[in-house]
C-alpha cells in the first residue's frame, strides 16, 4: 500500500467503496470525472466512489487525512451515509490537490464537498441531521471554518506530542 489515505485515531470507518487491493492505474482525467459523477449522485458503493478510493490509495500526488478528531468528527457516530460523507471529504480534498498541483491534505476543500453531499442527502430525508456537520456549516456561515480547522489541527498535534 502506498498509503496516502491516512486515518488519524483508530477508526471504525468502513469504506465500502475502497477495493484497495486492486492494481489499476487511474488517470487524473478519470478521477476528475469520477469526482464529478460522485458529487452529482453520491452513492456508496458505486463505480465513481471506487475510482476515487483507488486513486487516493494509489497516487503519490495526493494526501488525505481523515481525522476523526478534527475535520471528520461526524464520521465517529452512526448517523448513516458514513461512506458517502467520507468519500465526499476525500473527493473534495483530492480535487483541491489536483487543481493546485500541490501535495497536501486540504480538509477545508474536503468539507465543502461534504456540505454538498450532506445537503443533497438531506433533501431526500429532511429530518436526518448530523449535529457535527451542522456545527461546521454554521462555522462556515460565520466565516470561521478555516480558522477552526487550523486551531483544531494545532490542538490535535499538541495532544499527539504529549502522548509521545
Amino acid at each position: 500500500m502506498r498509503g496516502i489515505l491516512g486515518f488519524a485515531v483508530v477508526a471504525a470507518v468502513v469504506v465500502t467503496a475502497g477495493a484497495l487491493a486492486a492494481e489499476t492505474q487511474i488517470s487524473e482525467e478519470a478521477v476528475r470525472s469520477a469526482i464529478e459523477t460522485f458529487l452529482q449522485n453520491p452513492t456508496v458503493p458505486s463505480e465513481s466512489a471506487r475510482t476515487i478510493a483507488l486513486f487516493t490509495e494509489e497516487s503519490d500526488a495526493v494526501h488525505v487525512i481523515v481525522n476523526l478528531d478534527v475535520s471528520c468528527t461526524y464520521l465517529r457516530e452512526k448517523y448513516g451515509h458514513t461512506g458517502e460523507l467520507m468519500m465526499a471529504f476525500v473527493a473534495g480534498n483530492i480535487r483541491s490537490q489536483l487543481d493546485s498541483g500541490i501535495y497536501g491534505d486540504d480538509p477545508y476543500s474536503g468539507l465543502l464537498a461534504v456540505f454538498r453531499v450532506y445537503r443533497h442527502l438531506k433533501k431526500a430525508n429532511t429530518d436526518w441531521t448530523i449535529p457535527e456537520v451542522e456545527t461546521l456549516l454554521d462555522l462556515h456561515r460565520q466565516g470561521k471554518l478555516a480558522e477552526h480547522l487550523a486551531k483544531e489541527k494545532e490542538r490535535f498535534a499538541k495532544e499527539r506530542k504529549q502522548e509521545d
Binding site: 464529478e36 483541491s96 493546485s100 498541483g101 497536501g104 476543500s109 465543502l112 456540505f115 456549516l137 462556515h140
Partner: protein
C-alpha cells in the same frame, strides 16, 4: 443589477463574457455544467463563460469579492498579463462552486484561487515560459501551507481600507 461581484480598488478590467443585459435565468445545474465545461477547456469556452456570467448577474446566492489590492492584484489594469479574463473567470467559478456546494453565500477566495491555479497550470502547459509572478507567489504560499493565513490577513487589510478615514 443584482450584482454581488464586488471589485475593490481602481479597476479597468473588461470582462468580455459578461453580457450583463441578458435576461435568462440560469439554474444551478446549468451553471455547474458550464463550470465543468469551462474548466475542461478554459481557453475556448465562451459559451460557458457567458452562462457563468449570467448566473452571477442574476443570482443572489453567491457573493464574490475581487481584491485588486491583494490576492487578485494580477488582474489590475496596470498589469499586462495574457489570459487575465480567463483567470478571472476561473477565480469566479471556484468561488461560485464553493458557495453552491456549501449553500452558504460567502465569498471564498481560497476556493477561487485553487481554480485559478488549475487554469493557470493548464494554460502554462501550452506556453511554459508564460508566468504571472503574483500567482507564482500565491502558489508558493500554498506549497508552504500558508495560503489560508495569508488570505485572512489580506481580508483584514481590505476591511481596514474600507473603513472611513477619520
Amino acid at each position: 443589477m443584482k450584482g454581488f461581484l464586488v471589485f475593490a480598488g481602481a479597476l479597468a478590467i473588461t470582462v468580455a463574457a459578461v453580457a450583463l443585459a441578458a435576461e435568462t435565468q440560469v439554474s444551478e445545474e446549468s451553471v455547474r455544467s458550464a463550470i465543468e465545461s469551462f474548466l475542461q477547456n478554459p481557453a475556448a469556452a465562451a459559451e460557458s463563460e457567458l452562462t457563468i456570467a449570467q448566473f452571477m448577474e442574476k443570482n443572489d446566492a453567491v457573493h464574490i469579492f475581487i481584491d485588486l489590492n491583494g490576492y487578485c492584484s494580477w488582474l489590475r489594469a496596470d498589469k499586462e498579463y495574457d489570459h487575465k479574463t480567463t483567470l478571472m473567470i476561473a477565480f469566479t467559478t471556484g468561488n461560485i462552486r464553493s458557495q453552491l456546494d456549501s449553500g452558504v453565500c460567502r465569498d471564498d477566495p481560497y476556493s477561487g484561487l485553487l481554480t485559478v491555479f488549475r487554469v493557470y497550470r493548464h494554460l502554462k502547459k501550452a506556453n511554459p515560459e508564460w508566468t504571472i509572478p503574483e500567482i507564482e507567489n500565491l502558489l508558493e504560499l500554498h506549497r508552504q501551507g500558508k495560503l489560508m493565513e495569508h488570505l485572512a490577513k489580506e481580508k483584514s487589510r481590505a476591511a481596514e481600507e474600507k473603513k472611513p478615514q477619520n
